[in-house]
Subunit: 343 residues, 2 copies
């Protein structure tokens, strides 16, 4: 397949996120301006209230003749109860946009909106890949070797041991195709490296993972996410979500410590002033915007969920990631892998 020629149609939930529709419109504009090559194959579909889209597009100078609009009368708010909202708000951008993908009119859906609603709509509307019981979201954390993907980062809590195996299979394919890892190493997040460590779920999961054909390297600890050469770390969504959010807290704490130091004296302020740009460069790897959003794997189409506070850059990167996943035919590769490993 000549993937460079493959047409890619991506639906963006323009109403999603804390800074909607503005940041979504700006992100889309950046994609259209910067990706000349991609643009020829890329069709962007804006799901949302038409009037609001037109107003925001005018304000942010997005040329609407280059895109398609899927007019949606309703919006799932960040505060809405996810499952309930997906059931009731049939005209919302998330539900209508997801059906648009399911019915073959588009290849991917991306949204910085209500995370729970995105997971529910993806699972219920797009449907699960045969053999997958629990779709999983992965978060990319920067590490000493580049990046580590943690599955699951919050799609499901109270995971059973075999769900962790599903995460491992889906995560491995993602790491291979999208993170360009030739033979991704998979680690099981635990409280110690020795076999037999941990709670009942991971003890059993360890046994199951050993039996797979994955490149399973055994138990890994919290620190290994950041400092070891592990491509995919597998854990319950309860833990992955706490780790992901703890990592967000690290950025806040670092900024606070640097500011406190600068505020302590004029000399300190001058010193920090000198290296402000260096700081930005050093810590740029810690910026979530680089990865844009988290993929939900295990459903029948591409679905990417962005941070509620997504910037235009994060929106742009989510769209580009969705396009890459489509070009690389990720969904079919996931289906094949599930059949091979879990069938």
């Amino acid at each position: 397949m000549d993937s460079s020629k493959r047409k890619c149609r991506i639906v963006i939930d323009v109403m999603g996120g804390d800074f909607a529709p503005g940041n979504n419109i700006l992100g889309i504009r950046q994609v259209l301006e910067e990706s000349q090559n991609l643009r020829n194959n890329l069709q962007i579909i804006l799901a949302g209230k038409k009037a609001e889209i037109e107003k925001s597009a005018a304000e942010h100078k997005l040329d609407l003749s280059k895109v398609e609009i899927l007019d949606c009368d309703d919006v799932i708010e960040m505060s809405d109860s996810p499952v309930q909202a997906v059931r009731v708000k049939k005209e919302s951008s998330i539900v209508k946009g997801m059906y648009y993908v399911k019915e073959g009119n588009a290849d991917a859906f991306v949204s910085a909106g209500n995370t729970g609603a995105m997971m529910a709509a993806s699972t219920f509307i797009l449907g699960r890949i045969p053999g997958v019981e629990r779709p999983t979201i992965g978060t990319m954390l920067p590490n000493v070797y580049g990046v580590c993907a943690v599955f699951d980062a919050g799609a499901n809590v109270d995971a059973k041991p075999h769900h962790l195996v599903e995460h491992a299979v889906l995560g491995s394919i993602f790491a291979h195709e999208i993170l360009n890892k030739p033979n991704p190493t998979v680690g099981l997040l635990n409280v110690g490296e020795e076999e037999g460590k941990g709670n009942e779920v991971v003890k059993k999961a360890h046994e199951l993972l050993k039996e797979t054909k994955l490149n399973f390297v055994g138990n890994v600890e919290g620190k290994d996410i950041l400092k070891s050469n592990i491509d995919v770390v597998v854990c319950d969504g309860f833990i992955g979500n706490i780790v992901l959010k703890f990592a967000e807290g690290v950025i806040v704490l670092l900024k606070h410590l640097i500011k406190s130091y600068a505020d302590a004296s004029l000399t300190n302020k001058l010193k920090i002033g000198l290296v402000k740009n260096s700081f930005r460069e050093i810590f740029s790897d810690l910026n979530y915007e680089k990865y844009g959003g988290v993929p939900l794997l295990g459903v029948n189409h591409i679905s990417i969920i962005g941070h509620g506070s997504s910037s235009p850059l994060a929106i742009k990167n989510m769209i580009l990631k969705a396009a890459e996943m489509h070009e690389k035919d990720l969904i079919n590769k996931l289906k094949e892998a599930v059949k091979a490993h879990l069938g």
Copy 2:
């Protein structure tokens, strides 16, 4: 009680840790040199092989006339199976030292040795406070408001909801007495703030915590450990341990990012050189040595567990922390709290 006059006898496991006995001997010397006031009330007991203690003391110029030696023929190695080692190695510094405390010859035991063996020996030999089913270790993490104590950080995995309540009670008293928090706020670590979030254990624990007289503020997320005004965060030891070790990984990653930046060009190297000391000052709060070790709460005497790689500074701070816990009569306060809240 005039606590300043209270005699404090602390047993230090001189054989414990990756750099034993050297770092332990150096840490003890620092305590004796620096704490003139404390020294008058402080009796330090060195548990370990007498010959090795004498050799290391000579090498590191520790005056043994100021201390007591508890000669122990055996050592529990870092690689020993904890429960087994505690059962079999009756002459080890951990087992013999712990009995020395239990029998009333000393008030506290500190060790940078085998963590599992320390937990097992503390629980089996010192015994649990009546009403406590699962003793808990707490880790102090720096945050925007100073420090946040996370209980449990690995003493027990697969905790039941009522164990989390135990952690909350013990952690609150610790935060009040040792971290000087007037009315410690307690948060339940979860994947979202809303009630009803999370796995089955935390849902039930949430209900139980609401019924206590603790200053329970509800669910908190991973990021709140570092950025919110929460004094005590309660979680299963499996999760707390992963978070604690992830935090260790953050330091490694930061050092790596700074070094990579410096190595990229001579200009970068010079820039980093200019602010090297600032970095050290800014990140000093992230240094685990400040807290020395983690307290094991819920047993009948003071027990502090150090990091295997404890520096002399960390050893010193562990000893001082044990002395403070004794001066403040922490164990009796914990007993009273357990009776009041869990009785």
